[in-house]
């Protein structure tokens, strides 16, 4: 983090109004937001989805997505108003003076070109230096971003490197023309915590090295605290507050800002028992010829919550698929309530199917968009319990009440619900079967912090009232702390350890658990610095 001794204004956005066109009409996305950025400074822009932070970030380049337009406002970059420039003039600034780092590196690289060609394309187009000089410079950037095999990694195609590496290469791409401003738009959101730490430290050091100004957009406060000098909070297209990072963390003024913090305060006392609802013993599973689960054994106590944590590719979701029968195991057995379950879905009885339900990560894609809430929740009631007509309707309404909604939702389509409401409907659909075990596969990952809290509270309440058992699959340690009784840590298809929450979360840890837990960002601006110092020792 740099101090702003010289305080020279680089970017000044005044009274920005942006409208977007969707559902056949214009909506206000930004309603008069101001933003100042000084040379060499990093500004954090945070807010929930729909707050307009991404739109604001792109507007800082004078760019709006198709279907959006700048209604009024000035975007003064280095003395020129970007809002008044033509496309042609703006293109001279984009990629050279201001560059952009997108959220999903995997989707933002062109799959048809080599990484090196993409890294230097902007600088090459502007003819900043000869191609071979740019190539050598890019290799140096790769090196300073701690990419493996920096010399040759540029010759690969995007699909040949990992997500964390791609995100760093995109940072190199942004840095290649030595811009005065970089917009980071949720650059680490799609990454695992362990990878996130590496990417964050690489980005921070390179921005420091060239004293580049940056706008860092994220919904994760703990992340922005590591990067930003100043933080601005947005909500519904308006500014909530802005202050220096330390000031903001120690002394937030607005209620809304405080509520962004409080989410992580949800806690649950842990309990366990030896009466296992489900135990899986020495399971192996494979997709085709690649083996993904190696000798996995997990016990799930009745009426409790077991969280399975691990990074992507660790086999957490595969374990869920094996339990539900979607992916038959190649070895080992599953004991459900004292009885052995057949590996294949088709060989399980309707009753066995009813007792195990699953809730998915993306409520948007987990529901048929052409069915109403009534049909979505009513189907499992009819299918499993044979209830029809009036009785079915009372049952659906009862379930809606259980998830804190009411009968006015009966005729709505999924497209007419918010993200949190959709996930609630998915929960109701699972409950409709009256199951004993619910597998929650990253159910809160796609939701905003505040909505997450609501869903987690609801799940806890349902467990208390109905005694249902949960397997909670997640990569988010904060969620784990909030909801679990026991924790299973998985890594590369193996179980590293299983035990009570307090045992797993407190030292001593196996190496991998230690790495995983220490990588979870904390609300402390010095956290990343301290962590890196500790790890380098």
């Amino acid at each position: 983090m740099t101090s702003n001794n010289k305080k020279e204004l680089l970017l000044e956005m005044k009274n920005i109004h942006i409208d977007g066109f969707s559902d056949e009409r214009w909506h206000k996305i930004l309603k008069g937001v101001d933003l100042n950025l000084y040379r060499g400074e990093i500004l954090g822009l945070i807010g929930e989805s729909g707050a307009g932070k991404s739109t604001m970030g792109k507007a800082a380049m004078g760019y709006t997505q198709p279907g959006c337009k700048i209604i009024k406002g000035e975007i003064i970059f280095n003395g020129t108003d970007l809002a008044k420039l033509t496309e042609f003039e703006k293109r001279k600034i984009w990629g050279t003076k201001i560059s952009y780092v997108a959220q999903s590196a995997a989707a933002s690289f062109n799959p048809a070109h080599r990484l090196m060609d993409q890294t230097i394309s902007a600088a090459n187009r502007a003819k900043i230096s000869p191609t071979d000089v740019l190539r050598r410079d890019a290799v140096q950037l790769y090196e300073s971003l701690q990419l493996p095999d920096a010399e040759n990694i540029g010759e690969r195609y995007p699909h040949q490197v990992s997500g964390g590496q791609l995100q760093r290469i995109m940072t190199a791409m942004a840095m290649s023309p030595r811009p005065e401003l970089i917009i980071f738009d949720e650059p680490t959101t799609a990454l695992d915590v362990t990878t996130q730490v590496e990417v964050l430290s690489a980005m921070r050091s390179i921005v420091d090295k060239f004293n580049t100004a940056a706008i860092y957009i994220t919904h994760d406060l703990a992340v922005v605290a590591q990067m930003a000098d100043r933080i601005k909070v947005l909500r519904y297209g308006e500014e909530v507050e802005e202050s220096e990072t330390r000031e903001m963390l120690s002394n937030p003024k607005e209620e809304y800002t405080k509520s962004l913090w409080s989410v992580r305060s949800l806690i649950k006392p842990e309990e366990t028992n030896d009466d296992y609802m489900l135990s899986i013993k020495n399971i192996d599973a494979a997709y085709g010829s690649s083996k993904v689960l190696h000798d996995v054994s997990v016990n799930i106590p009745r009426g409790k919550t077991v969280a399975i944590v691990g990074e992507s590719g660790s086999g957490k979701s595969t374990t869920a698929r094996v339990i539900t029968g979607l992916l038959p195991q190649t070895k080992g057995e599953i004991i459900f309530d004292g009885k052995k379950l057949s590996p294949k879905l088709e060989q399980r009885s309707k009753e066995e199917l009813r007792r195990i339900q699953i809730i998915f990560q993306m409520p948007d894609t987990a529901m048929n968009p052409k069915q109403t809430v009534d049909e979505i929740i009513g189907r499992p009631i009819e299918f499993y319990h044979g209830v029809k007509g009036k009785e079915r309707e009372t049952k659906v309404i009862e379930l809606l009440k259980m998830i804190e909604l009411d009968e006015t939702f009966l005729d709505r389509l999924p497209s007419e619900l918010s993200g949190g409401q959709k996930q609630r409907i998915c929960i109701a659909r699972a409950l409709a079967a009256n199951p004993d075990l619910i597998i929650c596969d990253e159910v809160t990952s796609a939701l905003d912090q505040i909505v997450q809290e609501g869903i987690l509270k609801l799940l806890q309440k349902l467990q208390k009232n109905l005694g249902v058992t949960y397997i909670f699959i997640t990569h988010d340690i904060a969620t784990v702390k909030a909801i679990s009784d026991e924790i299973v840590v998985m890594y590369q298809g193996k179980v590293i350890e299983q035990g009570l929450k307090s045992k797993i979360l407190n030292p001593p840890h196996p190496d991998y658990t230690e790495l995983l837990l220490s990588s979870v960002p904390e609300m402390d601006p010095d956290w990343l610095t301290n962590l890196l110092n500790k790890r380098s020792n």
Binding site: K58, M61, Y63, Q65, R91, K92, I93, W94, G95, T96, S99, Y100, A102, S104, A107, S108, F109, N110, P111, A112, H113, S121, A122, R125, A126, R156, Y157, H159, Q160, M173
Partner: protein, 240 residues
């Protein structure tokens, strides 16, 4: 009574080879005109999409795709051979016709085949590119200062080759086989006419040979499209 059946296999080959050459010439020239033109029109329509140019190009192509080739052929005869006699009505070539004369004689059949196939190829090229324009890497390219031309040609087109190759090869096959009708309209001595004639004469070996050629054309061209799809996609070409 005893008759000499003759050496039938030699006869079939002798019949087919010159006719096949004629058909390949017609198809080849049509392809050389139609494919570059379709790509150019498709790419430029994507580049200026929703403009007047784009709308008229897609609209016109819809008309040409929907009209059958015998109709298009007669319209050409009416316009360019009868009202304004620029080209001959009948594309009557034989082995002694010179190359330049061949171009001149086959002009109208070539126009017809071009018009019939170009619309389909052009529309597919346009939509393949436009599909890709909503990808995140296209927005990324724009934000790194790429011009409209660069976005389309350097960033979208390389990712669109597979569907484009697919539709080009289908149309190539269609030209070769669809030339049956066009050859009849212009009385062109191609393999399509030979096949139809042989059906009338119950000359089964010739019909079989023609069918075999047509079928293998489809197989080979489809294989070619798949190969192009693989070669143009680094994800299939290079292992992870």
């Amino acid at each position: 009574m005893q008759g000499d059946q003759g050496d039938r296999s030699r006869l079939v080959v002798e019949l087919i080879i010159p006719r096949l050459k004629n058909t390949l010439f017609l198809t080849g020239v049509s392809a050389l005109v139609a494919i570059p033109l379709a790509l150019l029109l498709g790419i430029s329509a994507a580049l200026y999409r929703n403009s007047v140019y784009d709308r008229s190009a897609t609209g016109f192509s819809l008309v040409t795709v929907s009209s059958p080739e015998f109709f298009t052929g007669y319209i050409f005869i009416l316009l360019l051979a009868t009202l304004f006699p620029v080209f001959p009505t009948i594309a009557n070539v034989n082995e002694d016709t010179s190359l330049i004369d061949r171009f001149y004689l086959t002009a109208l059949p070539v126009f017809t085949l071009t018009l019939v196939t170009m619309g389909h190829m052009m529309r597919m090229t346009r939509s393949a590119i436009i599909n890709i324009l909503s990808s995140e890497y296209i927005e990324m390219a724009k934000l790194s200062g790429a011009t409209r031309y660069e976005v389309i040609v350097k960033h979208a087109l390389p990712n669109a080759w597979a569907p484009i190759a697919q539709v080009i090869t289908i149309n190539l096959a269609y030209m070769l086989i669809g030339s049956v009708v066009v050859e009849f309209v212009f009385n062109y001595q191609g393999i399509g006419r030979l096949m139809v004639g042989s059906v009338y004469n119950r000359d089964i070996p010739v019909v079989q040979a023609c069918a075999l050629i047509f079928a293998s054309t489809y197989v080979i061209l489809n294989l070619l499209a798949d190969l192009i799809g693989i070669i143009s996609n680094p994800r299939l070409l290079y292992p992870k």
